[in-house]
């Protein structure tokens, strides 16, 4: 290695500039905080939070610490992001494929959907779903049961909760089924490479994932019953559902608006991906005797995915970051719980905002790493 000052100089200057800028801001903040008698420190994280949160995935109430409140917010952010990403992807793929449909109605419907939802600011859509659409829902006492057990009301969606017996055995049976499927897939691939035989892998997989858990019910002693929500009267005109599982309307509105909005962008990525594969590829694949299913699975999709994945990653990141708009409709995400209530109660603005920023950064980077790994896996492997 032979370093030259000419190459090193600009790098060095950049590093020094970055250090100086950060140093200046830190120094400035320190001076100002000292002047105003504000103490810096993360000690507050272990203090009792003394505020409650509407909706939490882990056990939490005001007697827990601020750190626990942070975890509650973080998990709620992850929850809405994961559900949002799943729905947006499914919807995005369907709409994206529909836009290429030769059927005039389907094609136009998809096009209008994309143009409509893509061009309205997300915050407005969140307000629309929360304040306009969900508000049109009935009060708990007026709600009609859906399939006899679901209740969609202004106070949320109430669904029956599962009551398991011997849940462990059921869980192990699913794990066993998944392992069996993986083994069979590897075997099938080997069989095709060595002998050219094709096994109906898909059918076998479906069979396994149903049959093994079914056995756990029949002979493993697993049983499942449901707890159906019951209407409970609070006051003359005040009702609520008791028992079962309740999904707050804030979660529903946020997930709905985030996925409907992001799906439009994913749909465009999918369309671009499929259109980006040359027509000749399809014709060539057909000419060597592949059936249409195989053409899609073996020729079109692997190439399309290479175009689809990188921009879709961006959309996943956007969705995760956009979930911070939750604060507007009282969904207790990281921003509302931690950078909102906790910040106000402690007054530790710099500490809390920095923790929140690093958390979003870590979330985004994790998604990026995952998607880059996937992208690399499906990229052209030069041999």
């Amino acid at each position: 290695m032979n370093f030259k000052l000419k190459d090193l100089g600009p790098q060095l200057i950049t590093v020094i500039a970055v250090v100086l800028i950060f140093g200046f801001f830190t120094y400035n903040a320190q001076i100002n905080m000292e002047e105003r008698g504000i103490e810096f420190g993360y000690g507050f994280l272990s203090q009792e939070s003394s505020f409650d949160v509407q909706f939490s995935l882990i056990e939490y109430d005001g007697s827990h610490s601020y750190f626990r409140a942070y975890l509650v917010g973080l998990l709620n952010t992850i929850l809405v992001s994961v559900i949002g990403i799943i729905i947006a992807t499914i919807l995005g793929v369907i709409i994206g494929v529909a836009r290429l449909s030769p059927n005039y109605l389907i094609n136009k419907f998809a096009a209008y959907y994309v143009e409509f939802f893509r061009n309205i600011p997300l915050l407005l859509q969140i307000f629309f779903w929360y304040f306009a659409a969900l508000r049109a829902l009935p009060l708990p006492q007026d709600a009609d049961a859906i399939f006899g057990v679901f209740f969609l009301t202004i106070k949320g969606l109430y669904v029956p909760s599962f009551i398991w017996e011997n849940f462990n055995i059921f869980f192990y049976s699913i794990v066993a089924a998944i392992i069996a499927i993986i083994v069979i897939r590897i075997h099938a691939k080997k069989l095709q490479e060595t002998q050219g035989k094709q096994l109906p892998v898909f059918l076998i997989s479906i069979g396994l994932i149903f049959i093994l858990p079914l056995f756990s019910f029949l002979i493993g002693g697993v049983s499942l019953s449901f707890e159906i929500p019951q209407l409970k009267q609070l006051a003359a005109t005040s009702f609520v559902y008791d028992g079962g599982l309740s999904l707050p309307p804030e979660l529903i509105a946020l997930t709905l608006s985030l996925s409907l909005y992001t799906a439009t962008f994913i749909a465009e990525c999918v369309r671009a991906g499929i259109q980006g594969v040359g027509k000749g590829q399809k014709e060539a694949a057909a000419s060597i005797g592949l059936n249409p299913n195989q053409v899609l699975k073996l020729v079109i999709m692997p190439q399309a995915l290479r175009i689809i994945i990188p921009p879709t990653t961006n959309q996943y990141l956007n969705l995760t970051k956009n979930s911070s708009l939750a604060a507007a409709i009282a969904y207790p995400d990281l921003v509302l719980v931690f950078a909102g209530t906790a910040l106000m109660q402690t007054g530790k603005a710099i500490e809390i905002v920095s923790i929140t920023m690093f958390t979003y950064l870590s979330l985004s980077i994790s998604i990026s790493i995952l998607m880059n790994w996937y992208n690399k896996r499906i990229a052209i492997q030069e041999k």
Binding site: V53, Q54, K155, L234, A235, S238, D242, A327, A328, T341
Partner: protein
Amino acid sequence: MFKYLKQLTSLVAMVAVLFTFTTESMAAKKSKTLKNTQKKGFVRCGVSQGLPGFSNADAAGNWTGVDVDVCRAVAAAVLGDANKVKFTPLSAKERFTALTSGEIDILSRNTTWTLSRDADIGLTFVGVNFYDGQGFMVRKSSGITSVNQFKNGISACTNIGTTTELNMRDFFNSKGISYEPVAFEKADEVVAAYDSGRCDTYTTDKSGLAAQRTKMSNPDEHIVLPETISKEPLGPVVRQGDSVWEDIVRWSLNAMIEAEEYGITSANADSMKTSENPAIKRLVGAEGELGAAFGLDNEWSLRIIKQVGNYGESYKRNIADTGILPDRGPNQLWTKGGILYVPPAR
């Protein structure tokens, strides 16, 4: 030559010090905020995003309310014109950061005075301009007339970043009731959510409930329950570390209250100069040198009374006449059965 240099410098320094003493009062020199305010020509005041009676902007952008009047009083005292105020609407969440970061100089936004806020986060509370307490609002049709009728599973709408969230938890815990807190960032969204039936009850300071009730689609369908579950002394806040500015804001508020006590109003302030009572004469600047202590002229309090009015006038104009809380309750002078009692201006 160098022998005299030292003496010469000290002489120059002394002259300079004397010069600053004569041109600028001691207080103005000590108070960075006062100096900056006088230089800018307006008072930077943080208010709410719209709470009728306290701080609310009309369609033309004119701010009114008892919280607004505190800032106007300071502007009248410091700059001579009650209209020289720049109002910054802030959410509950933003308010303290805006003050500590120096974006505003007075926070007059129905803010509860608590120990941790006063001691912890670089703020100083200067007084109380409204004694309040947290209450609950419910729909009349629910038949609930007391908080003792609340049952497990009740959902309560409120704002984030306020003492309300903490009081609510204390209250429901002490009653052993499980509840669903639904906390929004902005008051308008809380009202919209409660109004549409998302929540069974809406909880915040009682003055706030009374004010927000006027915004509901049908105010008569809602009642505020009689119980008060907390003490909420609301008052203006300043940054820690500028005691002169702190004194100016404190005494601008006190002057309004004391003016009411002595019956000085915006209409009769000038004629009060010839009063027999020395306390009155001091308040209208006809006697003593009260303003000098914080670097203002002697008519600072006279300007407050003439331009903004006394506390009673401000209350009547903003809260009573608008139908929010016609009864002054605890916010009555101590001489008339309330708890408004301020140290004497002398």
